[in-house]
Amino acid sequence: MTYDKTMQALAEPTRRALVERLREGPLSVADLARGMEVSRPAVSQHLRVLSDAGLLEVTPVGTRRLYRLCPDAIAALRSYLDCLWEDAFAAFEAEAYRQKGPPNGD
């Protein structure tokens, strides 16, 4: 399962910022590092984590490497929603029992 890896990759603010920037379209490391508060090597490191987690695809274009978001990121959304409904159903069940009142011995 790669869900946990995806979640872990996205749990870091700089990496989320990089993902946000890639929503506009593919970018090179130099493009991504511009305007970021972290160094270019640090950006490369974060890109590697995101790639390893299946969130990014890398395409060589001439001498550059372009990073783009990978559709597999949907796995992270699904994983989150699975967790949400687990929590919500547990709470719904508790409320149903609460409203039913104390057990009547059956």
């Binding site: 946990d4 699904r78 409904w85 149903a96």
Partner: protein, 154 residues
């Protein structure tokens, strides 16, 4: 598959009509807003979460500053039987996923079956949807991640 629907079921010891009412009218009483709401993302609690009881009705979170944030829109309203919702928390309404909740009478209560699908339909825009969704509610990553780990370890 990442795009397979999510399915959850629970059996509750009350008739379908009551289960439906609690799920909708009382949503704000039981929804885990501390972890799963737009207000929670700002470290606050919603003032209310309401379901407008009709087809076309909105599910709305009211934040402490008075702003309202839509979670979804009711597309089928059959009290005691079925509820369909176009779910679009933190997203444009056009980028919704599909929620179906079916209430089935059982001996001694009701089985509630939830299906959350429509992820395949998002494929063209899947990454954007996923990342903006997670960006909007990212505070839950920690707890969800921990739970996911716990589940894997058990």
């Amino acid at each position: 598959m990442a795009t397979d629907p999510i399915r959850k079921s629970v059996t509750v010891p009350i008739p379908p009509g009551d289960a439906f009412r609690i799920f909708t009218e009382d949503l704000g009483r039981w929804w885990p807003v501390d972890n799963h709401s737009i207000s929670a993302n700002r470290g606050e609690r919603p003032t209310s979460v309401t379901v407008e009881p009709r087809e076309g009705g909105a599910i709305l979170e009211t934040c402490p500053d008075g702003d309202t944030a839509p979670w979804g829109r009711v597309t089928t309203w059959q009290p005691g039987e079925r509820l369909d919702i176009a779910w679009h928390v933190g997203r444009d309404e056009n980028d919704h996923t599909d929620l179906t909740i079916v209430f089935t009478p059982m001996e001694g209560g009701t089985r509630v079956d939830l299906t959350h699908g429509g992820f395949d339909r998002l494929s063209a825009d899947a990454t954007e949807t996923a990342t903006s969704y997670l960006g909007g509610w990212d505070h839950v990553l920690g707890s969800c991640y921990a739970q996911a780990c716990g589940a894997l370890c058990n």
